[in-house]
């Protein structure tokens, strides 16, 4: 049936685009993820950890 064929064509084109969208979305996202952890955040957590350790030392 013509309608079905046309529908199937559209659906497969849709899938192709969807796959491409998925790939590009992850590429854009992973580009940032692959930058890793900027120093400021590692430093921040280190500082907080040290202040936490001091806090515990005072408590005991």
């Amino acid at each position: 049936m013509d309608v079905t064929t046309a529908g199937e064509k559209e659906a497969s084109l849709g899938r192709e685009i969807q796959t491409k969208i998925g790939q590009q979305l992850r590429a854009v996202y992973d580009d940032v993820v692959n930058q890793g952890v900027p120093d400021r955040f590692a430093e921040l957590l280190k500082q907080l950890e040290q202040s936490g350790a001091k806090g515990r030392a005072h408590e005991s």
Partner: protein
């Protein structure tokens, strides 16, 4: 405050993904990093309310999203920067063709309504399930599914229109495309 090293490592491990999410929300790298920093401070201050065994990453994403919605959304409207700083966030230099494609895709992404973009990123890039994304966005699973579907459909429209432009449609075709877009 006591910070268990394993908790610290889990939090640090989530930072790259939090940044990517924050950039997609705010469209601005500097603001995204401030947002991540606030998220870490907020998380550590409330670490006792985190339930061990549950998804730390989803918990952090929820905090970040709430911070963004309460403090950043209005400002984002004021200074929309969709391709400037986002483009600067790219450290790698892919081949020219894929770079152009990248740029087109980011622009299309930036045209999505925020709710749809956020749902698409959480499910399609951050790797959360529909259920987890629904928890993060505090809405029904069906709402997330529908937002993701609408986001994909809209992106497909935007990208196919852009690729048609690459073939240089004449002004009348362009007018039809622009017209159909605004209906």
């Amino acid at each position: 405050m006591s910070l268990d090293p394993s908790v610290r490592d889990t939090i640090l491990g989530a930072v790259p993904s939090l940044r990517a999410f924050a950039i997609s929300l705010s469209g601005n790298v500097d603001r995204a990093d401030d947002l991540v920093q606030e998220t870490l401070l907020r998380a550590l201050a409330n670490i006792d309310s985190f339930q061990p065994g549950t998804n730390m990453s989803a918990w952090l994403f929820t905090i970040l999203r709430n911070l963004f919605r309460s403090e950043y959304r209005k400002r984002r409207r004021e200074v929309e920067d969709t391709d400037g700083s986002y483009a600067e966030s790219m450290k790698s230099q892919p081949e020219q063709n894929s770079r152009v494609e990248f740029q087109e895709f980011r622009e299309a992404l930036s045209k999505l309504p925020p709710d749809q973009r956020e749902a698409l990123i959480l499910v399609g890039a951050s790797g959360f399930s529909y259920e987890e994304a629904a928890d993060i966005c505090e809405c029904a699973v069906g709402t997330i599914k529908s937002r993701v579907n609408r986001a994909r459909t809209r992106l497909a429209q935007l990208l196919s229109i852009e690729s048609m432009n690459d073939f240089g449609p004449d002004q009348s075709v362009r007018a039809v495309l622009v017209g159909s877009d605004s209906v």
